[in-house]
Structure formats: structure tokens, C-alpha cells
């Protein structure tokens, strides 16, 4: 196993409620559909009676064009929607997403893999508009 992280993080210099709105807006601007939203912190609070920092999970579906390509591969269909996690840290927020899948991911057909990575690239580009990508040291 390599030391490369499996996720990408962006920092948005806005408190959580504003950052969440900014993320929704940025995704919509690139025709990325938010098919669902889970209030993770509220869910944990209600089920476990534990208070945590605000955290929401956005479920991002592919555009209509990419959806057709993904539909050709049941595995790729199950990977989508992709998760975009927004979490609050005081006056700023973090956005986490999956790193693009490597080319050698044989469990997914190459066309579907390409579509998934294209979708992730779109998400990344939308986040670049509102935040700064965190680069961890070697």
C-alpha cells in the first residue's frame, strides 16, 4: 500500500452554512446534479446522542451524458453517486472527495472508469473555484 491519500481536500474560507451553499452552487454551475444530501452530524446526534462539528454529505450524480456511459457498467453505476463531504471547522470549512481512480482499476471497465474520472475532474474543477486544494507534505 502506498502512502498516497485516497481523498482530496479543499479548504473553503467560509463557515459551514455558507460553505455548503457555495459548494452546492459550484457543483450546479458545472451541471453536476446533487441527488441527495445527508446531514451526517444531525444523524449522529439523533441516533447516538453525540454532538459533533457540522458535516454534510452531498451525493453527486453524473451528467446525463456520462450517466449513459456509466450505465454500461453495473459496477460503475454502483460507485456513482460520488460523495462530496463538507465539514465545518470554525470560520472555515473543508470539502473532501475521492481521488481519481487509478488506470489499473480493473474492477471497472475502461469506459466507465474514464467517465467516473471525468466526473471527479468536474467536481474538482468546481471546488477549485471556491477553495484551495490541500497538498500534504511527502
Amino acid at each position: 500500500m502506498t502512502d498516497e491519500p485516497s481523498t482530496i481536500t479543499y479548504v473553503v474560507t467560509e463557515p459551514f452554512p455558507q460553505a455548503l451553499r457555495s459548494v452546492r452552487k459550484a457543483l450546479s454551475a458545472r451541471d453536476l446534479r446533487i441527488g441527495g444530501e445527508l446531514d451526517v452530524a444531525d444523524r449522529i446526534r439523533r441516533r447516538l446522542l453525540i454532538g459533533t462539528a457540522p458535516c454534510a454529505l452531498l451525493l453527486v450524480w453524473p451528467s446525463a451524458a456520462l450517466e449513459h456511459t456509466l450505465g454500461s457498467d453495473p459496477v460503475a453505476t454502483a460507485i456513482a453517486p460520488l460523495h462530496v463531504v463538507v465539514s465545518g471547522r470554525g470560520s472555515r470549512s473543508e470539502v473532501h472527495m475521492l481521488r481519481p481512480l487509478p488506470d489499473g482499476t480493473h474492477s471497472v471497465g475502461w469506459r466507465a472508469l474514464s467517465a467516473l474520472n471525468q466526473m471527479q475532474a468536474e467536481i474538482g474543477q468546481s471546488m477549485e473555484k471556491i477553495g484551495m486544494r490541500v497538498t500534504l507534505g511527502a
Binding site: 500500500m1 502506498t2 502512502d3 498516497e4 491519500p5 485516497s6 481523498t7 481536500t9 441527488g35 441527495g36 445527508l38 451526517v40 444523524r43 449522529i44 441516533r47 447516538l48 453525540i50 459533533t52 462539528a53 458535516c55 454529505l57 451525493l59 450517466e67 449513459h68 456509466l70 450505465g71 454500461s72 453495473p74 459496477v75 453505476t77 454502483a78 460507485i79 453517486p81 460523495h83 463531504v85 465539514s87 473543508e94 473532501h96 472527495m97 475521492l98 481521488r99 481512480l101 487509478p102 489499473g104 482499476t105 480493473h106 474492477s107 471497472v108
Partner: protein, 143 residues
């Protein structure tokens, strides 16, 4: 690359709607929650003119394991809940579980590996029990 455990496929010897009901019951019995559910009939490729294949995407987790996974790094939310694709196949129902984290040979968010594995194992044993109970075969996804 650990592609073998990235995909788990199960075949339940029941039609779609009864199988879906059984899956929900089995998950609840194992204290697994369905955090979200999406009707994706028609998303799966099929021949033009054919009726869309019934299919449902379930997002499955456990609040406790979710909390544990997120405790050190919220990035773990990228991998939880797990995705379970339930699709009709005539008199049988296919269940496909995807674990993107298992497809990587990269570092998972701190503190998330164990709860993710526990969730995956619990889900696998739950679905396996359904295939055992309803006389259908289980197959692993191809590499």
C-alpha cells in the same frame, strides 16, 4: 491492487420486490441503516424498447461505525455509507456491493480502516445469509 474484495456480488433466489423487502429486514436485524435509497431503474444499459430493469441503490451504514470512521478525519465520509446496488434479473435478484476503498492501494483517512472493514464484513455476512436462506448462489465480482 485488492480488486477481488472491491466488488461483491450476490444472487438471491427471489424476485426483485420481495428480495428488496428481505434485504431491508436483514439489514435492520443486523443494526445496519439505509441512509438513503435511489430508484435507478433505467440507469442500467439495456436494449432499446425494453422495459427499464428495476434497480435500487441503497446507501448502507451503521451510525456507530460512521461516527467512529469520521472521528479523526471527516474525509472518511467519502467511503461511508457503502453502496449496494439491487437489480432485477427475472426470477432472481442481483445484489452488487462496491467498496471503492478496497480498489485502492493508497492510504485511507486516519481511523477509518477498521470501521470500514467492520461495516463491510457485517454487510457481507448479512447478504450472504440471504443467499443461503433463499437457495441462491454467491459469486465474487470478476477482476
Amino acid at each position: 491492487m485488492n480488486t477481488v474484495s472491491a466488488i461483491q456480488c450476490y444472487v438471491i433466489g427471489m424476485r426483485f420486490e420481495p428480495a428488496l423487502k428481505r434485504i431491508r429486514q436483514a439489514l435492520a436485524k443486523r443494526q445496519l441503516s439505509i441512509a438513503g435509497e435511489y430508484d435507478i431503474a433505467g440507469n442500467l444499459a439495456q436494449d432499446t424498447g425494453e422495459k427499464p430493469t428495476p434497480a435500487r441503490l441503497l446507501l448502507v451504514d451503521s451510525p456507530l461505525l460512521l461516527f467512529e470512521a469520521l472521528a479523526l478525519d471527516r474525509a472518511a465520509g467519502v467511503f461511508i455509507p457503502l453502496h449496494v446496488l439491487v437489480s432485477a434479473g427475472g426470477d432472481r435478484t442481483q445484489v452488487t456491493c462496491i467498496e471503492p476503498a478496497a480498489a485502492f492501494e493508497v492510504r485511507l483517512p486516519p481511523g477509518s480502516a477498521q470501521p470500514l472493514e467492520e461495516l463491510r464484513n457485517c454487510l457481507a455476512s448479512t447478504l450472504q445469509s440471504l443467499t443461503s436462506d433463499f437457495g441462491a448462489r454467491r459469486q465474487k465480482g470478476s477482476i
